[in-house]
Every structure is written in structure tokens, then in C-alpha cells.
């Protein structure tokens, strides 16, 4: 039976259910197939911090939104076209984001009086007419799945658990997704449980057939592949791309990679990933706490490893003193901060950009640390390589400021050619670098490279270079303890000058109309929403320019010049104005700060409204 096929240019689907319903896995699989099919994709997983919050409650709802299109997209989308609600809580929690006319697929088996009462529905919204302006598809997903799996030798509970695969099968049919990859994925996941494997495949196929045969869906949709740069692609999450970036950088530096880390959401996946890759000379050490994570990394850096520590905001707070030590010792170190909502424990699984000033200033004394921030999941790879380049070239700790949105989001990623990656090889010091008046020579650990101001990286085991370093102020050059006032003033300025002098690429501006008077300036994961907003504004005839900072310390050399070109500069941030504070302080530009700290990325439409208002006021 063939149904009418409607062509769409983009679709936003949100899968929502209980934390245990497998929504993240379902979303991930749909994403992989969609990326593989050639659409551009962006995703937003949104899950609670509790592993299993009470079943059927709003706090327990786990959601996964994906946006796919036949053109280049940069966000997971503002409002879903389709909501898959596995229970009443999932429906209730997501209704306010749904535009009228959206499709809602509800699992009616879960719409029991008890479950409805749990979230405060007096009657089922599926039946009481309150969803009249939506296109509701009531489907008994659980019982259909159990029915389809009746012949399998598995428990009822196991059968019920496969309902997410039924839903995935249905959605895959509805949007013409290829099925092969999902089957391969299931085969790998359940390789050791053949019964469960067969059941999941059967549930997936039952969902697909249900779509084909039911009269509830009269049309099927197609979204054609998006034109993208030629090349080989894969789908990638931010934390994975960041892990790969670190491995690639270590390989290009020809150094072993050492990660000292303590588990923390949402950074732990980097520890998990790197621990799998020992054959790339990757050493991972799960330390006893955050301080030992960075401490062990400092020890490894001293020993000549490419050293990394990974954490989130609360962990950075604990590591601060040790990061100051790394500044003082002038050793290469990458500190990855996957930011989450704060302060304190805050919102562990939600995103925020509120650690910028902590990264910039969160240490005692004058302790400058370079900062690099990725703009998208795939960009985490390049940003990690850039952080390593700065750390090893300038012998300095470097912050890599990711966040929950880019870390857990995914997108199609053009796989880079290994030979095109930068050469990051470093030279350890091997000989004396100072000649005394009497002609004798010595090793001076704080004798700087005149160009980069970097000190030598002299690793233990190098004959003749025995030396002592520490957190006490050191005499310029020779490196002995020094309490001399002028020396401290000089060393403080030298450390600052070294960071200020880091070469970073110029800030690029996109202004396709060429006559914009308003600049949208962002950093980190807000790139997608700001980009979407600029496109929306431009489509409605409003000129706007966009620039996005990857380097937050130092800023690109042309930043001042770029800022002065525009009448107004708007800085949207998922904090209360941290970049804006830096820009205002540094450049004396009266930037307009637009802020939200809702644990979620900005919506493109909303930022487009901001653009229109500001442009109208110029």
C-alpha cells in the first residue's frame, strides 16, 4: 500500500517519555539514520539529573529533540512539528512548546486515570477536546508492542521495554528513514542477548508496518538531503568530537595523552571515551577528587605528557588553586570545562555559559589563562586541537569552555583528513640555555623564547637540566625563589604579556547584505541560535551582521575594529552578561546584553525578535 508523499524542507521532532523509556537512545538512532540519509541535523537532548525520577512524573520526563532539513541548519529548532509523548507527563511537560497544528503521537496505554492524576489532568486531554487544534494520533504503543512480541520467549516487562523501538519504527516510516543502520545498531547492542535483539527488531518492524497500514497516517513525509561540502561524513556528539580532538592533537604532537579527571556531569563522557583508547598512547586516571585530577595532570605535564583535566563548573572551582600553580609553573595543560547550570550544584544536566568569568578570573593573583570555546558539536574537535596548540606553544594552562548543549548535541561532521591536521610537534629542552660571564653554562628554567615568551619545557630525565620550580615567585630567567618587588612586577607583566601575545585568527564577520548597522556577537554554543536568528531576520528584510568569538582570551586582534563598525552590538548569552562585561570593559563599547539562564539554548525566533527591535531603534 502506498500513501501520498509530501515533501518538506525541514522537520523538528521531539521524543519525550519517562527517564527509563529509552528516549535518548531512540532520538540518537533517528538522528544517526537521518544524518546518514544526508539531511543536515542538529539535536538537543534534555534529561533530568536523577537517573530514575519517580515514574510518570514531570520531573522524570526525558526528551530528545532533533531538527533535520534539506538545507544547512545550526540549531535543534524552536518548536517541534511532532511530539511523541510516551505518557501524560511527557505530554504535559512539552505542550507549551508545541505550535498549533503540530502532530502529537501519544501512547494511550499510559493514559490511565492514575497516570493522568499524577500530573494533574482531570480527564484525558486526548479525549476531552483540549487538543482540538493539534493533530493527535492516539496509539496504544505499549500493547501493540506486547502483541507483536507475543511469540517471543521474553517477559512482559521486556516486551514493554521495546516500545521505544516501535515508536522509532513508526517515525522511521513516517519520514522515510533508512532502516538498515538501526538494525545494525541493534545487532551490536544486543549481540549477547539474541532474544532481546530479535524482539527489538520485531518491535521496530511492527512500528514501521503499523505506519504503513493504519489509516491514522494518510501521508508520509520526505525531506531531501541537504547540499553539503563534498566529503565523508559521520554523525558526532560534542563530547566525542572533543575527545577525538584531544587524541588527534596528541598524535600530531607526538606526545602521550594523559587525562587526570574526576567524574562529573556533563563532562564524564570524555573520561569514558578517552579511557577506551589506550592503544593511541592515551592514559586516563580517575583521581580521588577534582583537585587530584588537575594535580595529576600537572605532574604528567611536568613529565612531558600532553596533559588534560576534564570537569564542569563546580570542578573548576575546586581546581582553581592548582590552575594557578600551572600558570606559575608555566606548564602546558588543557582544562576542559563542560559548563552546566550553576551556581553550586545548579542544574547538572542543563546547559549554561556562566563560567566565562570563572575561567577568566577565578584564581588568586594575576593569573591569566587563555580561553577557547567551541561553537557546535563538530567544532569541539577543532577547538580541542586549538587549545592544545596554545598550551604547548606557550607553555600555559588553557581553558576549553564547552557546555552541555554542544557536549550532548550532535550534528553531521565532515571527517577531517588526518594529514591536514596541524603539526603540533614540540621540542623539549635538551641543553643549557645561559652562559655566565666566566663562560660556564647553566640551565635557566625561566629563560623565555623572545617571540612567544614561552619558557623551556625541560622534562625530568634530561641530563644536565636538573632544576626546581614551584609556586613561589621566581627570578626572571634563572628561576630561583625571588621576593624582589621589581622582579615580581616584571614576572607578573611577563606572564600577562605572554597570554596577550598569543596569536589567534581574526574575528570574521558575516554580513551578506553589506549594510548592517547592528552586530550580533556571541561565543560558544550560542552560535547556532544566533545564526538561525540572523537568517530569520534577513529573510524578513532586516540587515544584521554576525560575529562569533572562538578565542575569549586573548580576543582576536581586530575585535576593536569590528565592534566600532556597528552602531549597536548585541551580545546574547546564557548567563547574565559575562562576555558583555568583558567587551564593555576592554573596548568601551556600549554593548546590549541579552540574557537567559533557563538551562536551554536560545530559540532562533526569539533572538530574531531581539534583532528586529534593535535594528528598528538604530
Amino acid at each position: 500500500m502506498s500513501k501520498q508523499v509530501v515533501q518538506l524542507s525541514r522537520v523538528i521532532i521531539r521524543f519525550a517519555g519517562d527517564s527509563g523509556d529509552g528516549m535518548q537512545l531512540t532520538g540518537d538512532q533517528f538522528t544517526s539514520r537521518t544524518a546518514w540519509f544526508g539531511n543536515d541535523v542538529a539535536t538537543l537532548p534534555d534529561f533530568p539529573a536523577e537517573i530514575r525520577a519517580p515514574a510518570g512524573t514531570i520531573p522524570g520526563v526525558s526528551a530528545f529533540q532533533l531538527h533535520f532539513a534539506d538545507h544547512d541548519i545550526t540549531t535543534a529548532g524552536d518548536t517541534p512539528n511532532v511530539l511523541v509523548a510516551m505518557n501524560p507527563a511527557a505530554l504535559k511537560a512539552n505542550m507549551r512548546d508545541l505550535p498549533r497544528g503540530a502532530d502529537i503521537i501519544v501512547n494511550t496505554d499510559e493514559f490511565t486515570p492514575r497516570n493522568l492524576a499524577k500530573v494533574g489532568y482531570a480527564a484525558s486531554p486526548v479525549d476531552d477536546g483540549s487538543l482540538e487544534s493539534y493533530s493527535v494520533h492516539p496509539i496504544p504503543l505499549t500493547s501493540l508492542t506486547v502483541e507483536a512480541l507475543r511469540s517471543f520467549d521474553i517477559t512482559k516487562k521486556e516486551a514493554e521495554r521495546a516500545k521505544n523501538m516501535f515508536a522509532l519504527g513508526l517515525l522511521s516510516w513516517l519520514y522515510h528513514r533508512p532502516t538498515e543502520g538501526t538494525l545494525t545498531f541493534l545487532k551490536q547492542k544486543f549481540a549477547k542477548k539474541p532474544q532481546i535483539l530479535a524482539a527489538n527488531i520485531a518491535a521496530f518492524e511492527a512500528g514501521w508496518s503499523f505506519g504503513e497500514t493504519t489509516e491514522d497516517f494518510s501521508v508520509q513525509y520526505e525531506v531531501q538531503p541537504a547540499p553539503m561540502l563534498a566529503g565523508r561524513y559521520r554523525n558526532i556528539h560534542g563530547n566525542l568530537a572533543l575527545s577525538y580532538g584531544l587524541i588527534a592533537a596528541a598524535q600530531r604532537a607526538e606526545l602521550p595523552l594523559f587525562l587526570g579527571s574526576y567524574p562529573i556531569t556533563p563532562a564524564s563522557d570524555i573520561l569514558h571515551e578517552l579511557s577506551k583508547h589506550k592503544k593511541f598512547d592515551v592514559m586516563t586516571f580517575q583521581a580521588e577528587d577534582e583537585i587530584a585530577g588537575v594535580g595529576s595532570a600537572i605532574g604528567a605535564a611536568y613529565g612531558g605528557m600532553l596533559a588534560v583535566t576534564t570537569t564542569s563548573g563546580p570542578g573548576v572551582a575546586l581546581k582553581s588553586e592548582a590552575i594557578g600553580l600551572a600558570v606559575s609553573l608555566e606548564l602546558p595543560l588543557v582544562i576542559v570545562d563542560v559548563q552546566r547550570g550553576g551556581p553550586s550544584t545548579g542544574l547538572p544536566t542543563k546547559t549554561e555559559q556562566a563560567d566565562l568569568l570563572q575561567a577568566m578570573f577565578g584564581r588568586n593573583g594575576e593569573a591569566p589563562v587563555p580561553i577557547v570555546a567551541p561553537r557546535s558539536p563538530g567544532d569541539c574537535f577543532d577547538a580541542a586541537i586549538e587549545a592544545v596548540r596554545i598550551a604547548t606553544t606557550y607553555r600555559t594552562p588553557v581553558f576549553l569552555l564547552s557546555d552541555g548543549y554542544v557536549a550532548n548535541g550532535s550534528e553531521p561532521w565532515r571527517i577531517p583528513d588526518v594529514d591536514s591536521l596541524p603539526d603540533l610537534r614540540v621540542a623539549f629542552a635538551t641543553e643549557h640555555n645561559h652562559t655566565n660571564d666566566d663562560g660556564s653554562t647553566e640551565f635557566w628554567p625561566f629563560q623565555r623564547d623572545p617571540e612567544t615568551l614561552a619558557r623551556p619545557w625541560a622534562v625530568p630525565g634530561t641530563k644536565g637540566l636538573e632544576h626546581r620550580i614551584g609556586g613561589i615567585e621566581k627570578a626572571d630567567g634563572i628561576g630561583n625563589i625571588s621576593y624582589d618587588p621589581d622582579n615580581h612586577d616584571r614576572m607578573t607583566r611577563l606572564r600577562q604579556a605572554k597570554v596577550d601575545g598569543i596569536t589567534v585568527p581574526d574575528l570574521e564577520v558575516a554580513d551578506p547584505d553589506g549594510d548592517a548597522r547592528v552586530l550580533m556577537l556571541g561565543w560558544g554554543s550560542t552560535y547556532g541560535p544566533i545564526n538561525a536568528a540572523c537568517e530569520i531576520a534577513r529573510r524578513s528584510g532586516v540587515s544584521v551582521a554576525q560575529a562569533h568569538l572562538r578565542h575569549l582570551n586573548p580576543f582576536p586582534a581586530n575585535t576593536a575594529e569590528v565592534l566600532r563598525r556597528y552602531d549597536k552590538v548585541v551580545i546574547p548569552e546564557m548567563n547574565l552578561g559575562q562576555l558583555a562585561l568583558l567587551i564593555r570593559g576592554r573596548y568601551l563599547v556600549d554593548a546590549i546584553s541579552y540574557n537567559q539562564v533557563r538551562g536551554l539554548p536560545f530559540k532562533g525566533e526569539e533572538l530574531a525578535g531581539v534583532i528586529k527591535d534593535v535594528v528598528a531603534s538604530v
Partner: protein, 333 residues
């Protein structure tokens, strides 16, 4: 070229207070270092913060004076990644047991190849005289004018409780015993904790005097020697099994030397070593054992760590191109 203590001295002026016990330990360590038979560049001293932590500046090897309490963590990162080095940690009772307690116990349980020298003077010296985690209850200091309330740690008991595979105690002024203890520690695979009773002559002078005074020390101190009955140096009293299973001290003349426990630092069961560490009176120092309490074989963390890496590499080294590509790709022309 044959090394001597002189080879391990630096040109830096030693800045401990005149009369500080640290001088004796430094001299003892410097004269012991040639015994390691290692080139100077393969030895690293790492310290935290405190008077003792200035130690690396005076050792002509590689060294790092780090931050308060963190030396075991930093040294672990170095020792794990550079098994070719001999890594030594210098710390004090405040640095190791107060601010850095967590790192110390975890280093000990992991058994990373580190030799940790804990200078115990029962006082905070660098901050000018507050009580420390090893100070006796009732200690009157600047921060405890009516006497301290905290029950002290016994570093040896703590280390044994933390699964340490090597734990010893020695005294700053006893060069011979100090050297013997360092020798045993250096030979041990894994973490070795050596507590060194050290005198702070400015803020806690004489803290260990009963054990140094030649008139009384032999009746106060046990010297633990493998294969020898555990008796006070003067032989008058010895350690025996009590009826309740714990240890007690009895007159040797009364119970007979054959009833006295024979020391065995290699005993896999830590119970006896722990009980020995608890014999002494923390105020009078009566019945204080010195020597190696525990020295048992256990694979070091770093050797197991590198064995895993080697086993992962045995299947061939990683190929970056195939890693980045993964196994689910598509081509766009």
C-alpha cells in the same frame, strides 16, 4: 662517575631556622642518595607547602614545590606516566594529614611508585605555631589558648588503615636508623610512607626529646627488626599477645623472651602492625616503636597501569583516520 652527598646539594641557601630538625634529614637524604645508583636527572622531589616542603629546592635533582597538600596527587601523575623516574614526596603533618589527607590515603591504597617522607613535628611551623593533626590533645597554641580538643592522628596507623604496603617510622637525629629506613623504602615497589619524627625548635621544641634523651630512650622505645623479639631497647619489657587478642606489654623477665612477639614486617595481615602502631602513649611517648612496621609485596599501580596499555597496544597501535571515521559514515559528492 661515583656520586657523593655533595652532588645532591644545590647552590641555594638553606632557609630553615637554625637548629631545625630538617637540616639533619636533608643531610641524611643527601648522603643516602648515591646509594640509589641513579643519575641525578632521573630523581624528582615533589613537595606541598610547609617548612618541610622547601626540601626540593635543596636537592640537586629535578623538583617541584607545589601547593598545600597536593604533592601526592601531582607526584602520582608524574610517577604513573614516567615509570623510569624515582619520585620522592616530602610533606609534613599539616600538609599530608590535614589539607592533603585525601590525596595521601588514595596514593597509599593505589600503591603508586612514590616514596613519601612525612616530617612530623606535631605543629604548624610556617604559619607560626598552630596545633596540627598530630598534636596531642590539650596542646596550647596560638589558635588554642585553652588547649586543643582534637584527637590526633597517628600517621602510621592511618597509613596502615589506608592499605599502605610499606609504612615505617624513624627519627631526624638518628642518622643510621634514618638511612636504613630510607634504604628499605627505596627498595619497596609501590608507595612507601616514612614518618620522620622531626623537631621544630621554634614552635614545638623538644616534642620528641624523650626518644632522643640517651638516659631514658632505651626504656621508652622499641626498635622493630625483622626476626627479632619486639622488646624495648633496654630489653626490660616486650610485646606479647593479650588474652583478648590484642597486644600488650609485659616484663620480659616475667613472661620469658620466648613469649615475646617476633617482628615480621612482611606479615600480610596488617592487624599486628596496626596494633604495634597503637602501643605508644601520645603524650609521654612511652612504648614508641620505630622501624619498618609493614613491608608487603603488592603490584604497584603504575606497573598495572602500563601493563593495561601494553596489552591494548598488543592488538596493534591505533589508526587515527579510522578512529575519526568510526563505522557509520556516508559520502557526499
Amino acid at each position: 662517575m661515583k656520586q657523593s652527598a655533595k652532588d645532591f646539594k644545590t647552590d641555594q641557601e638553606v632557609r630553615w631556622c637554625p637548629g631545625c630538625g630538617d637540616y639533619a634529614i636533608l643531610a641524611g637524604v643527601q648522603s643516602f642518595m648515591p646509594e640509589l645508583g641513579l643519575a641525578k636527572e632521573n630523581i624528582v622531589w615533589i613537595s606541598g607547602i610547609g617548612c618541610s616542603s622547601r626540601f626540593p629546592y635543596y636537592m640537586n635533582t629535578f623538583g617541584m614545590h607545589s601547593i598545600h597538600g597536593r604533592a601526592p596527587a601531582i607526584a602520582s601523575g608524574l610517577a604513573i606516566t614516567r615509570p623510569d623516574l624515582s619520585v620522592w614526596v616530602v610533606t609534613g603533618d599539616g600538609d599530608a594529614l590535614s589539607i592533603g589527607g585525601n590525596h595521601l590515603i588514595h596514593a597509599l591504597r593505589r600503591n603508586v611508585n612514590l616514596k613519601i617522607l612525612l616530617f612530623n613535628n606535631r605543629i604548624y611551623g610556617l604559619t607560626k605555631g598552630q596545633y596540627s593533626p598530630t598534636s596531642e590533645v590539650g596542646k596550647v597554641t596560638k589558635s588554642t589558648p585553652m588547649g586543643s580538643l582534637d584527637h590526633p592522628f597517628n600517621p602510621v596507623s592511618l597509613a596502615i588503615g589506608a592499605e599502605a604496603s610499606f609504612v615505617a617510622r624513624t627519627i631526624d637525629s638518628d642518622r643510621k636508623h634514618l638511612t636504613e629506613t630510607l634504604r628499605r623504602a627505596a627498595l619497596h615497589e609501590g608507595t612507601a610512607l616514612v614518618e620522620i619524627y622531626q623537631n621544630c625548635n621554634i614552635f614545638n621544641d623538644g616534642a620528641w626529646d624523650p626518644l632522643k634523651d640517651s638516659e631514658h630512650r632505651d626504656s621508652l622505645m622499641f626498635r622493630l627488626e625483622d626476626g627479632q623479639p619486639i622488646t624495648l631497647v633496654d630489653g626490660s619489657r616486650g610485646v606479647v599477645r593479650a588474652a583478648n587478642g590484642s597486644l600488650e606489654i609485659a616484663d620480659v623477665a616475667e613472661v620469658g623472651i620466648e613469649s615475646v612477639l617476633v617482628h615480621d614486617s612482611r606479615n600480610p595481615d596488617p592487624a599486628v602492625a596496626f596494633a604495634l602502631s597503637h602501643l605508644s602513649d601520645s603524650v609521654t611517648l612511652a612504648d614508641t616503636p620505630i622501624g619498618v612496621f609493614r613491608d608487603v609485596p603488592r603490584a604497584s599501580y603504575d606497573s598495572a597501569f602500563h601493563a593495561q596499555i601494553e596489552s591494548a597496544k598488543a592488538g596493534g597501535r591505533g589508526d587515527l583516520g579510522s578512529l575519526l571515521a568510526g563505522n557509520d559514515t556516508w559520502e557526499i559528492a
